[in-house]
């Protein structure tokens, strides 16, 4: 177990962006980022906004290439779009012209799964998250929480061993969010994929993760790593009552607060420097 290759791995990754236009200055989004996730592990990524969390997921999905360093999936370099991972983006990105059922079947269709199997698998997952009865509805006819469920099962239905999730519950109300966290935990327990879960909600990160990586503010790098040793399955509704929760929460929050302050001081100095 200890010697097995990580499911995904970033090694000394740098990523610079150059904006549009002639006068645009390059911006360093990631600076020497290294981390790995073991097979079957649920990894939380937290850090101040703009620190490069989404960029890390984009790198692993092969939608963008690193400026330096290596991005690996089961030990192999990611080159070009990585169809071996599932990617649940921040926006639900459902196809508005497809019904819920057809949206959930999309990946099975692209991946050459036999047609007879699409319907059965899609319906199974739709039932699993309580969307039964809404198969024929179009995305604009579903609530925000329902669309979110749809976008999650649309990815889980084709069963990749690595799933990237970018603040999937961000825009939802607090109640729906906790309910979906519980559902996600249940879905994850089913097949135990490796999950990289970006969130700005520290409670959510603790409730779901085995390990949590905290990023520094931009340029992002890994500031600290936390192990979440709370027993599973966890009761996400009362996670804050679990022993050990408070300490972990305080530690995470003080890390992030320090980063936010550091970033703000950096900005102030930049302003003063320019005077």
């Amino acid at each position: 177990m200890a010697t097995s290759t990580p499911a995904v791995r970033l090694r000394n990754v740098y990523k610079a962006f150059i904006g549009q236009g002639r006068t645009a200055r390059p911006l360093l989004a990631l600076e020497d980022v290294s981390f790995a996730a073991r097979p079957g592990e649920f990894v939380g990524l937290v850090g101040p906004s703009g620190c490069g969390k989404s960029t890390c997921l984009n790198l692993l999905a092969g939608l963008t290439a690193p400026s330096a360093g290596s991005v690996e999936h089961h030990g192999a370099q990611v080159a070009g779009v990585n169809t071996k991972v599932g990617y649940i983006t921040q926006d639900d990105n459902l196809l508005p012209w497809r019904s819920l059922l057809a949206n959930v079947e999309l990946g099975l269709e692209f991946r050459g799964v036999p047609r007879e199997e699409w319907r059965r698998r899609a319906l199974e997952f739709i039932e699993l998250v309580g969307l039964g009865g809404f198969e024929g509805h179009y995305p604009h006819e579903l609530s925000g929480g329902m669309r979110k469920r749809a976008s999650i099962i649309r990815t889980l239905v084709y069963d990749t061993d690595v799933v990237l999730m970018d603040e999937p519950f961000g825009p939802l109300d607090a109640q729906t969010r906790v309910i979906l966290q519980a559902e996600l935990q249940k879905l994850w327990e089913r097949d135990r994929p490796t999950v990289l879960f970006v969130t700005h909600d520290l409670v959510e990160a603790i409730a779901l993760s085995d390990r949590i990586f905290v990023f520094t503010s931009r340029p992002g790098t890994i500031k600290r790593e936390y192990r979440v040793d709370l027993p599973r399955p966890r009761d996400v509704f009362r996670i804050h009552e679990t022993t050990g929760f408070d300490d972990l929460y305080d530690a995470l929050w003080s890390d992030i607060r320090a980063e936010i302050q550091r970033a703000r001081q950096g900005e102030l100095q930049a302003v003063e420097g320019s005077r």
Partner: protein, 299 residues
């Protein structure tokens, strides 16, 4: 249990009975709401129809009263004279004869222009680099007043139907072309990224993402370009022709027969109106776009 002290949260009894009666009450509310909506839609339709007919009657009556009193009949003719002119043309078969040429040029021009625009916009919309190369040339072609193409087409193709069809097609072409290119280019980046990670091939992307996303743009253009086709056909007939509604209007004008000009223009408008009604199903074709229906509002 004993006496509890301190703050206490008390759950109140559910104030409303939520038994079977309540369920049947809800069903009734839903049925009533549906009936109310249907009634509102019907009333709205009837009101629209009456109001529109009312406007038409007002125009005709106003026109009739003004003609010869406020404005000289020579300029505006009169509803009666125009109706007599139309009746004459119908009886003599002239309306059918001239109408068919204009109708043919309009319909063929519309089809040729739309098809050409879509076929050309398709590859250009998918290949941004090719589009960047050719864009200035399309801009130049677009900035030529379409009317100016009339003499050129007549020079090339003579006085027959062909230049009119081409002129109608030219009027339609750029509207459909620009909309189709935009339709192909506006596909949300996120949808493309997500479907590519899902394993979509190039042809999957085209079929499942790019084409459906462009369709509303193309439909909108197809819906709005019919009048443009008619303008093109009639402009062609104005410039040089011995048949068609444009010729009819022109001939009447050269004889100072105002009622003839108005009658011809009236028929043109009627044709565009009829074709617009025929194309109306295009706008409701996409259920996924009918977001407003879901709110139960009157569309």
């Amino acid at each position: 249990m004993g006496i509890e002290t301190g703050a206490r949260v008390t759950a109140l009894e559910t104030p409303l009975a939520l038994g079977p009666e309540a369920a049947s009450g809800s069903a009734r509310v839903l049925a009533d709401e549906l009936a109310r909506r249907d009634r509102a839609v019907r009333e709205q339709r009837r009101f629209l129809l009456i109001a529109r007919v009312g406007v038409l009657v007002a125009i005709i009556v106003g026109w009739d009263l003004a003609s010869g009193r406020l404005i000289r009949t020579f300029f505006v003719s009169s509803p009666g004279a125009v109706a007599r002119q139309l009746a004459d043309w119908i009886a003599s078969g002239q309306l059918l004869y001239h109408g068919q040429f204009t109708l043919t040029a309009t319909v063929l021009g519309y089809v040729v222009g739309s098809v050409a625009a879509i076929l050309l916009a398709w590859p250009l919309g998918l290949m941004p680099r090719l589009f960047r190369i050719t864009e200035p040339y399309f801009l130049v072609a677009y900035s030529i007043p379409a009317v100016a193409m009339g003499p050129i087409f007549i020079l090339w193709f003579g006085l027959g139907l062909t230049p009119k069809i081409l002129l109608a097609a030219y009027f339609v072409f750029f509207i459909v072309f620009v909309n189709t290119v935009v339709g192909f280019q506006q596909v949300p980046r996120g949808l493309l990224d997500v479907t590519r990670v899902m394993g979509a091939s190039r042809s999957d992307l085209l079929r499942a993402v790019i084409l459906p996303s462009a369709v509303p743009y193309v439909l909108a253009a197809l819906r709005s370009t019919l009048p443009a086709a008619m303008i093109g056909a009639v402009v062609g007939e104005f410039i040089a022709s011995n048949r068609g509604l444009g010729y009819l209007a022109n001939a009447a004008a050269s004889e100072y027969a105002t009622e003839g000009v108005i009658a011809a223009v009236f028929v043109m408008a009627l044709i565009v109106l009829a074709m617009t009604v025929l194309l109306r199903p295009l706008s409701g074709a996409l259920r996924w776009q009918r977001g407003i229906d879901a709110r139960g509002d009157i569309v």
